[in-house]
């Protein structure tokens, strides 16, 4: 394969040019790129806020920014990262690109709805950026009432409108995935031959559909209370401030599973490919995704153990929270077992996958501390919680995202990224991450509360350690930005299947043609049949092009 043959062959990137062919595309692969650019933008905005936070926390006094500014910083960091990076990242970028390809379809069920999804996402983002530019919001990303509904003097309504709008983007993406996976699988692609990436996205889509509307209404009610002075959460009227917490966490807990399930799907693909064998316990891993999605809806009260719920409610939520941990543990054990007697290579995507398993395990185990009622009293709303969720979201979800981007980069671009730099970046990220967040577990146990602009001097040493780690982590994130862009022009040209993987997406050219496959694939084996050659797994039938 040389330079010229790429240009001569038509594929989804060169089939037409110009800004209009991108902004009005209905090709799921181009829409994935639109999302890739958007979420990268939001990631670095959120990272910018995080940088300022860590710089401020170098010293116990509030000497870098004022208290009000600091409160806006952590709020905007949370809102941007949660709603505009973590939730969309893997589903809207990798999911959009790969779901049709992995099941042998030409596109998603509703391509125009998919494009609308992206525009809605951008519209929501604009509202939120506008709120930030107009002065920001300082309620914390959790918007607890009555502070958010009555007392805050910041742009709460504008921000909740932005999040509300973006929620529709999630709902439509989830709807598209569910319908596509149900109705558009290629001949022979039965449910139990689906890649685990698809199972993960199916489970995630269920959460999108059932959970997102509830936060939509919770935030709508806060917005209505602020604008029209409706008194639903106002304690002065006899309103219940806890009602908001229940409505908010009913979505926001399942939301964290939206953030992690797709990453787990990516990890399954990576572990299988770079061990060159099928995932151990495929059925168990598939069902554990569904179990996490279902159980995840039953545990929201564990955010409210000290909020004033009854002691019995606390016990029920604690028990269920332990149960939801079990399917995740099952996955970790199955992934580890997959390595046994495999053929393990150390390409960058695999480094991210292995790092994910380790860091997710630590994050998940610390979740048990929070599920334990007697311990949560002590560490709730401290840096212990912050460390826990960053281990899962950054050590887990972001690593999964980066691993996936690297793995499928050749498929998406027709280019290989520079392997040496990628491994260096993975290592820098791993080290920087642990140095940033492990000290925070200790800080939390010692009693440092969250969202503190100033803190007692005895906490300084650990804070300095954390900020030092953050500076290393930041370097680690900038590296891929640079070398991935470099590879678009100067990277080695990729073949259809540079990793010799078995997924359907690798049985077509890199980059793929607009309709993904020249001929309709017919599937005769399950996913990850590494002991067979691709020709034995897939045959190609009549021409796919209509």
């Amino acid at each position: 394969m040389n330079e010229q043959s790429i240009e001569r062959r038509e594929h989804y990137l060169n089939v037409n040019y110009g800004i209009r062919s991108w902004l009005f595309t209905t090709d799921h692969k181009r829409i994935a790129w639109l999302y890739l650019l958007s979420v990268t933008f939001f990631f670095f905005i959120g990272g910018f806020f995080a940088t300022l936070i860590r710089l401020e926390l170098l010293t116990p006094q509030g000497d870098l920014v004022q208290a009000e500014t600091y409160n806006k910083l952590f709020t905007m960091h949370g809102v941007t990262m949660v709603f505009f990076f973590l939730i969309p990242s893997i589903p809207a970028v990798l999911g959009n690109f790969l779901v049709p390809m992995m099941i042998g379809a030409r596109d998603l069920a509703f391509p125009r709805l998919n494009l609308a999804s992206w525009y809605i996402f951008i519209l929501g983002g604009l509202f939120t950026v506008a709120a930030a530019a107009a002065g920001g919001v300082d309620t914390g990303w959790t918007f607890y009432t009555p502070y958010s509904s009555i007392y805050s003097n910041t742009h709460v309504a504008l921000t909740v409108v932005g999040i509300f709008i973006t929620g529709f983007s999630s709902i439509l993406t989830g709807l598209n995935f569910i319908v596509t996976i149900h109705t558009m699988r290629a001949p022979g692609m039965t449910w139990f031959r689906l890649p685990l990436f698809i199972w993960a996205h199916y489970a995630t889509s269920i959460i999108f559909i059932l959970g997102t509307p509830v936060i939509a209404i919770a935030l709508t009610l806060v917005g209505l209370e602020r604008i029209f002075h409706l008194g639903i959460f106002d304690p002065a009227l006899g309103g219940d401030p806890l009602l908001f917490q229940h409505l908010f966490w009913f979505y926001s807990h399942p939301a964290v599973y939206i953030m992690i399930l797709p990453a787990m799907g990516v990890v399954s693909e990576l572990i299988a490919c770079f061990s060159r064998k099928r995932v151990f316990g495929y059925g168990f891993v598939a069902f554990s995704s569904l179990a996490i999605a279902v159980l995840g809806f039953l545990v929201w009260g564990h955010h409210m153990f000290v909020a004033g719920q009854s002691v019995h409610a606390g016990m029920v939520f604690s028990l269920l929270s332990f149960l939801v941990a079990i399917p995740s543990a099952i996955k970790v054990f199955n992934w580890t077992a997959t390595l046994h007697k495999g053929s393990v290579s150390y390409n960058a995507p695999m480094l991210y996958a292995l790092g994910f398993i380790g860091l997710f395990t630590i994050g998940g185990l610390t979740g048990l501390f929070l599920a334990t009622l007697g311990i949560d009293i002590h560490v709730h709303d401290t840096y212990f919680v912050i460390a826990h969720f960053h281990y899962i979201m950054v050590g887990g979800a972001v690593m999964g995202y980066l691993g996936g981007i690297h793995f499928w980069w050749p498929k998406m671009t027709g280019r290989i990224y520079p392997e040496v730099w990628a491994r260096i970046a993975a290592l820098v990220i791993f080290i920087g991450f642990n140095l940033t967040f492990f000290p925070q577990f200790i800080l939390g146990y010692l009693g440092m509360p969250r969202r503190y602009h100033v803190y007692p001097p005895e906490f300084q040493v650990l804070n300095v350690m954390s900020t030092a780690g953050a500076s290393i982590l930041a370097v680690g994130y900038v590296l891929p930005l640079l070398y991935l862009m470099w590879s678009l022009r100067y990277g080695a040209v990729a073949g259809a299947n540079p990793w010799r993987a078995r997924g359907l997406e690798w049985q077509t050219a890199s980059p793929p043609p607009t309709d993904n496959f020249d001929r309709t694939p017919i599937v005769t084996e399950g996913a990850y049949a590494y002991e067979k050659e691709p020709e034995e797994i897939y045959t190609f039938g009549k021409p796919a092009h209509v």
Binding site: A109, T212, P213, L230, L247
Partner: protein, 215 residues
């Protein structure tokens, strides 16, 4: 069969797949709507349980006649909608348009009555906010009741307005002859949506208008 290929979108293998996908898609969407309204119903239920007297008193200030008329209007509109779907299944053209127009008309009547009720509430100082005025001992939970009243019926009205927009689009398509006995999925799907909005009202009406009423 050549006219069928005009209406099959390129990502689908055949008409059946497209039809299945559209149906599942609409049901999934209605599922999200159930969760959306469900949040408000949950909040309403909790507060009604906490303040039964105030809620009963406030509910009695709603105009039960207008509410009942509106319920009848909406049920009729579901009937005309079902007739429109039936006409589409039979491949007729003019009856589809007429029944859709009737449905829009009934929907407009509903909205007209609703906004008249809103106006009356405004005059009676029952809109939550600075101008809210109510018997002192029940005033605060009553204001919560009216907050839910406006939020829930307002959200419902918004869905009706969107529904009327969808019906208008259907009429335009029907006039252009886009529906036949073989292909009329959009009519069926909008029918589902319209029936759902109707069902939400069937729940809203007794919960809001009929608290503690005796015949």
């Amino acid at each position: 069969m050549s006219d069928l290929s005009i209406v099959r979108a390129h990502q689908f293998d055949d008409i059946e797949q497209q039809h299945d996908a559209s149906w599942i898609g609409m049901w999934v969407f209605l599922g999200t709507e159930v969760m959306f309204f469900g949040g408000m119903f949950t909040g309403y239920t909790l507060y009604r349980n906490a303040y039964p007297q105030a809620f009963a008193s406030a509910s009695n200030h709603l105009d039960i006649w207008l509410g009942t008329i509106n319920t009848a209007v909406l049920i009729c509109s579901s009937f005309t909608m079902a007739l429109a779907v039936r006409s589409a299944q039979l491949g007729e053209r003019k009856p589809i348009i007429n029944f859709l127009l009737l449905t829009i008309l009934l929907g407009a009547v509903f909205l007209g009555i609703k906004f008249t009720e809103y106006y009356f509430k405004f005059e009676e100082h029952l809109v939550p906010g600075a101008a809210f005025n109510y018997e002192a001992s029940l005033a605060r939970p009553a204001e919560i009741f009216f907050s839910f009243y406006f939020a829930m019926t307002g959200m419902h009205a918004l869905h009706m307005i969107i529904g009327i927009g969808l019906l208008t689009v259907l009429i335009i398509k029907a006039r252009r002859g886009r529906f036949s006995a073989v292909y009329h999925t959009p009519v069926e799907l909008v029918g589902l949506y319209w029936h759902f909005v109707d069902i939400v009202w069937i729940f809203l009406f007794p919960l809001l208008y009929l608290v503690g009423r005796h015949l």
